[in-house]
């Protein structure tokens, strides 16, 4: 037991060191991709949080957009300091999700999927239609970045991808820790019950609707936070950035990685980003990206429906069996 704990601590420590060292081993453009990767990890993990209750949404990327727009407007129009604006963005996302939960949770399964898509499209069309304050089809530009820090020796310019990477890494790690705590609490267990036995859960007095709403609101808040992180780094957002195509990418990450474990979606988004940026870009096949994603989606659903995460224990067992095969 104690041995395992040391092993776990050693693993955690090496992970921290690796994540801290990582940007210094990359080129400038790879550092930028790394920033997006960290933001996408938060996006797909918040998506998984909703999936815990068994509902699959097609409006999650729009909730990311709600956070992005709200945070950008809070900083630009209302003059909020950027970190406060980001929190405001997450809060607005949560509030919009709470309002949407009333119509959407009258539906389940496939109807929820279509309903969430429709609700998302309505929000996207509102951004497109109302030039003031959303900027219409061209979106918002010149979104303020985080103010530079200049405390004597400590000088940080958040326009630099490495600095922004560390900032995102801190925000995302904290968010993931919160999501992890929630999942491991009795709330997470209730989500499990709502997913697999909602009738039974309701019969023992669980307000399943309330738990579904909680999952949607929390998931949307973190999606909104990821959108805010995105908006203040890129500096420009528009309705197209949050369309169904982007949603399909999130869906692909979740399906490729799997959603049963905490690390599954992270595995999915990391693997596909590497495939995207390293393999496809090197081979000059970026045009074929949707083709590759489509083929991957189909292949995984047909042949590995539980995702890459289902391969990991098998690999681990294989590794363990080798020295111990005489015993078995």
């Amino acid at each position: 037991m104690a041995e395992r704990r040391t092993l776990g601590a050693a693993f955690a420590l090496s992970l921290v060191v690796a994540l801290a060292a990582l940007p210094h081993l990359l080129t400038y453009s790879q550092q930028e991709i790394l920033v997006f990767l960290v933001i996408n990890v938060l996006l797909v993990m918040s998506y998984r949080f909703l999936a815990l209750t068994g509902e699959w949404s097609l409006g999650h990327v729009v909730m990311m957009g709600v956070g992005a727009y709200a945070s950008a407007l809070a900083a630009k129009r209302l003059g909020f300091p950027v970190p406060i604006a980001m929190l405001a963005g997450a809060a607005v996302s949560a509030a919009v999700a709470w309002v949407l939960s009333f119509p959407l949770f009258r539906m389940k399964g496939f109807y929820f999927l279509i309903g969430s898509f429709a609700a998302g499209e309505v929000i996207r069309l509102l951004w497109k239609r109302f030039r003031d304050p959303f900027g219409g089809p061209k979106g918002l530009k010149r979104i303020p970045e985080i103010a530079d820090i200049e405390w004597g020796v400590l000088q940080v310019d958040f326009f630099n991808p490495v600095a922004y990477y560390y900032f995102c890494l801190a925000v995302v790690s904290l968010s993931l820790w919160l999501l992890w705590r929630l999942e491991r609490s009795s709330i997470g267990l209730t989500f499990h019950a709502v997913h697999w036995h909602d009738g039974l859960a309701a019969s023992v007095g669980v307000d399943t609707r309330r738990y579904r709403t909680l999952a949607l609101v929390v998931a949307s808040a973190f999606a909104g936070l990821s959108g805010a992180l995105f908006a203040h780094y890129v500096g420009a957002i528009n309705p197209t950035r949050f369309n169904i195509e982007e949603m399909v990418y999130v869906l692909t990450w979740a399906i490729v990685g799997g959603t049963a474990t905490f690390y599954g979606p992270i595995l999915g988004v990391v693997m596909l980003t590497v495939l995207n940026e390293v393999v496809l870009r090197k081979m000059g096949l970026e045009q074929a990206r949707p083709l590759v994603y489509g083929a991957i989606l189909i292949a995984f659903v047909m042949f590995l429906p539980r995702g890459l995460e289902s391969v990991v224990p098998r690999l681990a067992r294989l590794r363990l069996r080798r020295p111990g095969s005489a015993r078995a």
Binding site: P103, G109, A118, A119, L125, A295, V301
Partner: protein
């Protein structure tokens, strides 16, 4: 004002006709297989590109190109059923994901084959039929309306007057009971997806000279078709046709008298309202999946 009103009615009828073709195919596939085909808009797009390749590029007769579109997309549908949909029968999430995968693949193939640019297709007929002073309909649009009525009539006869039609309706109503009666589910699925895809393909082929033909043209069509099948009640063919008419009229009128984006919003809100109040649709009675 009367002219504008009448003209809008004419335009809405045209929109309803090709939308009904697309939506009926979608309902047929869902009814028999329990799968919502997200790639249905891409079947429509493939039909349009058949016309681009055969009529605009090779200068074959328009009617022949449309027929080729119907057959080709029908065959694509049959191949899709065998390889992708059959393993996902009655697995809504799996079916959703494979059809999204297919959507991405077909879009990429169209982009790689024809480029992302909009295709210019010279309309086979420039004639405009004048109904009265200030109200007219291009013959090309009129042909779409005729073709839709003809094809939907033929489909109705097929479903209500032939053995295979009975088999198809039985499989949609109760797959297990149908299978127990000796109906081959594989065969029923193949026919349903084949016909459904062919209808989308022919709608795309017929409207290719009238709309903007480009690899992502399926997007707006699939959203409209989703609204139609939800409002009509998933699984109800008659409901889909009626809902196509309702939606086309609402959308065309709001577009004409307010603006296009508001019309899209109204359409989506209509669907949300139906989902909230009566999830089985205005004309549907059954809930599947």
């Amino acid at each position: 004002m009367t002219e504008l009103l009448l003209q809008t009615i004419v335009n809405a009828t045209y929109a309803a006709s090709y939308l009904a073709l697309v939506a009926v195919g979608l309902v047929l596939i869902f009814g028999v297989m329990g799968i919502i085909n997200f790639a249905h808009g891409e079947f429509y797009m493939l039909g349009a590109y058949c016309v681009v390749a055969l009529y605009a590029d090779l200068e074959l007769p328009f009617l022949l190109s449309v027929a080729a579109g119907l057959v080709f997309v029908g065959l694509v549908g049959i191949a899709t059923e065998r390889t992708l949909f059959r393993p996902m029968r009655d697995n809504p999430l799996g079916g959703l994901v494979v059809s999204i995968g297919l959507l991405l693949i077909l879009q990429s193939l169209a982009t790689l084959g024809f480029g992302v640019r909009m295709e210019h297709i010279p309309p086979p007929s420039q004639a405009v039929l004048t109904l009265r002073e200030g109200v007219g309909i291009p013959v090309q649009r009129l042909n779409v309306i005729f073709a839709a009525v003809l094809l939907l009539g033929a489909l109705w006869l097929f479903l209500h007057r032939t053995r295979w039609g009975f088999a198809l309706r039985a499989s949609a109503q109760d797959p297990e009971a149908a299978a127990l009666q000796g109906i081959s589910m594989g065969q029923a699925s193949r026919i349903a997806v084949g016909i459904g895809a062919a209808l989308a393909g022919v709608a795309g082929a017929l409207t290719a000279p009238l709309v903007r033909t480009f690899p992502y043209m399926g997007h707006s069509v699939i959203i409209a078709a989703f609204i139609v099948i939800i409002v009509g009640g998933v699984g109800s063919l008659e409901g889909a046709v009626l809902a196509a008419v309702v939606y086309a009229f609402v959308h065309t009128f709001v577009t004409t008298f307010v603006d296009g984006v508001i019309a899209d919003i109204v359409g989506l809100l209509l669907m949300l309202a139906v989902l909230i109040v009566r999830p089985t649709g205005l004309f549907g009675s059954r809930d599947r999946g």
